[in-house]
Symmetry: C2
Subunit: 356 residues, 2 copies
């Protein structure tokens, strides 16, 4: 029925059929003023009939707008990221943008390489969830006022800080709550399973945890912190070491749920029980955390909201072409009490619950 390989219809074809010029067709199809209602309707009818589909590549070349965003992810297979990816890609689609997924890990060279490609492809903006403190390309992006947002992690650059748009949770507060919760449950020796020290999340969470310890009257102790790079395996190994200590921790705070799962594995493999022997609190509230038998107490970081807001901010920035009005959004985290902390067994120690 359909002739094979009918060359795609272009605005030229429509123009010809309508007896007008491509200019008019372009104006009409883009709903811009300067076209009479009659011709406009005719053009729309013809576009429909001829099965016209716009060529975005040509449009991009001319208008410098691709309606495509880049998304830098550390590792989409890590259970924390998929929800974020979903939220980001769906919000972007709703705004009329597509998303190119770049799974780049924390490898700086790879990030630089992808950045070049994405910019060569003319993406209108980029969402970074992979920002490291020493990422070298950020300053240039700012100087060129290329639109980007950092989500989850943020980055601080002296003198340019209000030009960096970021959406994060209050990581300091989240970690603070986690430690305070464990303290109130009666724990004084708390092992901290920390992330990658080049990330703002690790820095802020570790600081929040440290402050909470101080406020609870516990002297922070370097030996009680293990840097595990947000890796489940490293967290398992570190936990084994902790458990072999003479005065071992009675509780762990893992700076993300993936590491918390690692801690859990190591604890169970050592023949200890959670929470009876060891209490555990994570961070992120990934899906697995809620499954029966896992029931990880953790800090919810509203990941879907982070994704949504990041895209909205980025699109605003792109479309208004203005400097950002809002440059930082900080969401409030929430302690989600499940069973791994032991709260359901014994509640808070009465002498440790002060008014907030």
């Amino acid at each position: 029925m359909q002739e094979s390989k009918p060359t795609k219809t272009t605005i030229k074809d429509i123009a010809q059929a309508a007896g007008v010029t491509p200019t008019t067709v372009s104006l009409a199809l883009n709903n811009r003023p300067g076209v009479s209602k009659k011709t406009r309707e005719k053009i729309f009818r013809l576009a429909e009939t001829l099965n016209y589909e716009p060529n975005f590549t040509a449009r991009s070349l001319r208008s410098k707008r691709s309606y495509t965003l880049g998304l830098f992810m550390k590792n989409i297979a890590d259970p924390f990221y998929p929800q974020l990816a979903k939220s980001i890609s769906e919000t972007a689609n709703d705004c009329g943008y597509n998303v190119i997924l770049c799974n780049v890990g924390d490898d700086v060279d790879l990030k630089v390489k992808h950045l070049k490609i994405l910019r060569g492809k003319g993406v209108d903006g980029i969402i970074f969830t992979t920002m490291l403190d020493d990422d070298p390309y950020v300053i240039q992006l700012i100087e060129e006022s290329f639109p980007f947002v950092t989500a989850v992690r943020h980055i601080h650059i002296n003198g340019m800080n209000d030009q960096i748009v970021s959406v994060t949770v209050d990581n300091f507060s989240g970690a603070y709550q986690a430690i305070q919760h464990l303290y109130r449950l009666g724990h004084d020796r708390i092992g901290i399973i920390a992330g990658d020290e080049r990330t703002s999340t690790m820095v802020d969470r570790t600081a929040g945890a440290g402050q909470a310890l101080l406020d609870c009257g516990i002297e922070p102790d370097g030996k009680m912190i293990a840097k595990c790079n947000y890796s489940r395996k490293l967290a398992m190994a570190a936990t084994r070491d902790f458990l072999a200590m003479k005065y071992r921790p009675s509780a762990f705070f893992a700076e993300d749920d993936t590491m918390a799962i690692g801690v859990r594995e190591a604890v169970l493999k050592a023949g200890l029980r959670i929470p009876e022997d060891i209490a555990l609190v994570g961070f992120d509230d990934i899906d697995v955390a809620g499954i029966t038998g896992i029931e990880l107490t953790t800090i919810n970081q509203q990941i879907i909201e982070i994704g949504r807001l990041s895209v909205n901010l980025l699109v605003d920035r792109i479309e208004k072409k203005s400097a950002p009005l809002v440059s930082k959004i900080v969401l409030q985290p929430e302690l989600v009490i499940r069973k791994s902390c032991g709260f359901h067994l014994k509640g808070y120690r009465t002498d440790r619950v002060r008014v907030k």
Copy 2:
């Protein structure tokens, strides 16, 4: 140091600086014959100095090649898909392509909409992991010989079947193994938690399960199959119903691990134990399946390999511009025995282990 907003250097600039024409520059930079070594080197040096970065949009417009692929996913937040997305995007990157992620669910209208946009953006090919039996756009894609691959799921269209490239696991065999395994453990009443009937995975797995039952001398029974659409919630509800039956199943086969988790939740909430009271086998071998306390017996479907092969096939198709030599790849699934089936407690019933 850097002047602000230096308009991007183009091959024209390089041509001027080198005293040649854009053509020569284009040939040189694309490593194509017809340029003397000397000019070639000069051009490369200048490209470096002038910090040239190719404009892929312009190239696309001219050459009809975007080095971008589309990826259709049902739900990137479902734990089955992230590994696939990772494998696909990384393989694509290695081949010099980017991937646009389209999280489209099973909504046909949305799929059609995204397909139009992607084609408008000139993607060189598409990987569908969302194919449904009645997806309406497939025939047209084939007729236009637009490159695409279906991964995980396949689709059958009379008369065009060898033009559809697909990479799947042998779903029939996987389900067969699952049921046989449960039978050998002594189970005769096996509840089947089935997926979405419009998917080939559901059809094949259900058929494999049915055949296994027959071969084991068990009459398949419609009341023992619940269609749960690959949804954890529906699987929970169906399991509750199964458990309320007069002669309730002693085992469940869930056609994916997400539903198996749902079964698990429902069974545990009913106060029953896994595997002592109820045996459970899933399908996919997602990451969570291996966690202590979950330890789901399941069928591994080599998801990373599916992703890798899909991209390789697609890229071959695109770059050779030929009809596909290989049109179907079927991987072999593997039964992964953990604890949810109860094998570790009692092993196979000796009277039920026949030579394979």
